[in-house]
C-alpha cells in the first residue's frame, strides 16, 4: 500500500477520529446490498440508454448505437485491466459481475481503438447531426448497429454523442 510521496497526511497514531460509529459491520450484508444496488443501477442505465451494459449489446429504443473507429483515446480510458488507474488499494478488488465480464473481454486487447457512440434517433425523419465527439462516423448511422453486434463485445468505453432534444 503505497502512499504518494510527500504525503504529509498520515493517520496519527491513536487518533480519536479512528472509531466505528454503529457497531460491527456485516461484510456479507454489505456485499449483498452492494450487488443489489449495482444491479438496480445497471437496470436504470439499461432503460435510460437502451443498452445492455453487461453484455454490451444495444437494445431497441431512442438511441441508435454504433461502433466508432479510431478515437485515439489513451488506453487508460479503455481498459480496466491490471494497469488501469486504480492504485489506491494496491489492487485485489473483487470484480463485480459486470467488470468480471469486461476484464475477460478486454484481455483480448486487439480492439482497443474501437469505441461505441450513440445518437438519439430523431422522432422526425431528419438525419442526426454529425457530432464532433465522434469523428469518423458516417451520416447513415441510424439503426445500423443491429448488424454490428459482434464488435460491441470488445469495448467497454462508451462515447455519448450530443443528443438531439
Amino acid at each position: 500500500m503505497s502512499h504518494p510521496p510527500g504525503d504529509a497526511r498520515q493517520v496519527p497514531h491513536s487518533s480519536k477520529a479512528c472509531r466505528r460509529l454503529f457497531g460491527p459491520v456485516d461484510s456479507e450484508q454489505l456485499r449483498l446490498d452492494c450487488d443489489a444496488l449495482m444491479a438496480s443501477c445497471v437496470q436504470e442505465a439499461r432503460r435510460r440508454w437502451n443498452f445492455d451494459f453487461v453484455t454490451e449489446t444495444p437494445l431497441e429504443g431512442n438511441f441508435a448505437w454504433e461502433r466508432v473507429l479510431g478515437l485515439g483515446l489513451p488506453k487508460l480510458y479503455l481498459s480496466p485491466g491490471p494497469c488501469g488507474g486504480r492504485d489506491d488499494t494496491g489492487g485485489g478488488r473483487r470484480p463485480s459481475p459486470s467488470t468480471a465480464l469486461l476484464q475477460g473481454i478486454v484481455a483480448q486487447e486487439d480492439h482497443v481503438d474501437l469505441s461505441l457512440s450513440c445518437t438519439l434517433v430523431p422522432r422526425s425523419s431528419e438525419p442526426p447531426e454529425e457530432s464532433p465527439g465522434a469523428p469518423g462516423t458516417s451520416q447513415s448511422r441510424k439503426r445500423r448497429q443491429t448488424s454490428m453486434t459482434d464488435f460491441y463485445h470488445s469495448k467497454r468505453r462508451l462515447v455519448f454523442c450530443k443528443r438531439k432534444p
Partner: protein, 288 residues
C-alpha cells in the same frame, strides 16, 4: 556559496482565478444550484433505520477526519451533499452509514484535492470496520446512484463572490472568510440546512460571521440590518428568508457551544465522548 532551503507546502494549490469571480459565473451558480439538492426530507419518506442523530454522528466523524487530514474546506460539505443525495434515494441500514460517509469523503476528496485521501486511510478511520475493497465497490454504487453527477454546487462556491461585493477592509477578510467556512461546516452537520440552497447558506454564514465579529471589533462599516439587505441583493435571496437562515445558523452555533461547555463541565464524561462534541474545532474559538 550560500544555499537556500525552502520548505514548501506539499499541497499545491492553484492561485484564485479572477475570471471565475465575475457576475456571469455567479448567475450560473445560482441557476444550477438547486439541481444538486437532495430530493426529499429522507428521514420522513425514505429511511426507516436511520435517525437524524445518526446523520449528526456520521457528519461529526467526517468533519473530524477532514480536519485531521487537512482536507480542502469544500471536501466536507461536498461529501455531505453526496451523502444526503444518496440517502434521499436509497433506504439504508444504519450499519452502512459510516461506510457511506467514508465513500462520500473519498469521492469529494478526489474531486477537490491534488492529493486525495486514500481508501486505506479512510478504512483506518473507521477503525478497520470496513475494507478498502468494500469502499471501492460502494464507491461505484454511490456514483451510480448519484448518476456520476459529482460537481455539485456548495456554499463555498459563493464565498468569494459575496465577499468581494462587501464594503470591507481588506485586512479583515481572512478572519471573516475563516469564520464563514466554519459556519458552513456547522450547517453541513445539521440536517435542517440540507435542503437549503447553497447560496443561502453561504450568504447567511457570511452575515453570521460578520455580525459575530462585529461585537468585538469593527469589521464592517454596515449595521447588521444593512448588511443583511446587501447580502440578500448579492445572491437574490429574500431578505426575510435570509434573516431566518442567519438566525438558525447562530442558534446552531450557540447550541453547539453550550453542548461543548456542558461536556467540558461534565467531569464524568470520558475524553472519548468529549471529542465527539458536535462542534467543529474552529467554532470553539469564536467569541460571542
Amino acid at each position: 556559496m550560500e544555499l537556500l532551503c525552502c520548505e514548501v507546502d506539499p499541497v499545491r494549490r492553484a492561485v484564485p482565478d479572477r475570471s471565475l469571480l465575475d457576475d456571469r459565473v455567479l448567475q450560473n451558480l445560482l441557476t444550477i444550484e438547486e439541481r444538486y439538492l437532495p430530493q426529499c426530507s429522507y428521514f420522513k419518506c425514505v429511511q426507516k433505520d436511520i435517525q437524524p442523530y445518526m446523520r449528526r454522528m456520521v457528519a461529526t466523524w467526517m468533519l473530524e477526519v477532514c480536519e485531521e487530514q487537512k482536507c480542502e474546506e469544500e471536501v466536507f460539505p461536498l461529501a455531505m451533499n453526496y451523502l444526503d443525495r444518496f440517502l434521499a434515494g436509497v433506504p439504508t441500514p444504519k450499519t452502512h452509514l459510516q461506510l457511506l460517509g467514508a465513500v462520500c469523503m473519498f469521492l469529494a476528496s478526489k474531486l477537490k484535492e491534488t492529493i486525495p485521501l486514500t481508501a486505506e486511510k479512510l478504512c483506518i478511520y473507521t477503525d478497520n470496520s470496513i475494507k478498502p475493497q468494500e469502499l471501492l465497490e460502494w464507491e461505484l454504487v454511490v456514483l451510480g446512484k448519484l448518476k456520476w453527477n459529482l460537481a455539485a454546487v456548495t456554499p463555498h462556491d459563493f464565498i468569494e463572490h459575496i465577499l468581494r461585493k462587501l464594503p470591507q477592509q481588506r485586512e479583515k477578510l481572512p478572519l471573516i472568510r475563516k469564520h464563514t467556512q466554519t459556519f458552513i461546516a456547522l450547517c453541513a452537520t445539521d440536517f435542517k440546512f440540507a435542503m437549503y440552497p447553497p447560496s443561502m447558506i453561504a450568504t447567511g454564514s457570511v452575515g453570521a460571521a460578520i455580525c459575530g465579529l462585529q461585537q468585538d471589533e469593527e469589521v464592517s462599516s454596515l449595521t447588521c440590518d444593512a448588511l443583511t439587505e446587501l447580502l440578500a441583493k448579492i445572491t437574490n435571496t429574500d431578505v426575510d428568508c435570509l434573516k431566518a437562515c442567519q438566525e438558525q445558523i447562530e442558534a446552531v452555533l450557540l447550541n453547539s457551544l453550550q453542548q461543548f461547555r456542558q461536556e467540558q463541565r461534565d467531569g464524568s464524561k470520558s475524553e472519548d465522548e468529549l471529542d465527539q462534541a458536535t462542534t467543529p474545532t474552529d467554532v470553539r474559538d469564536i467569541n460571542l
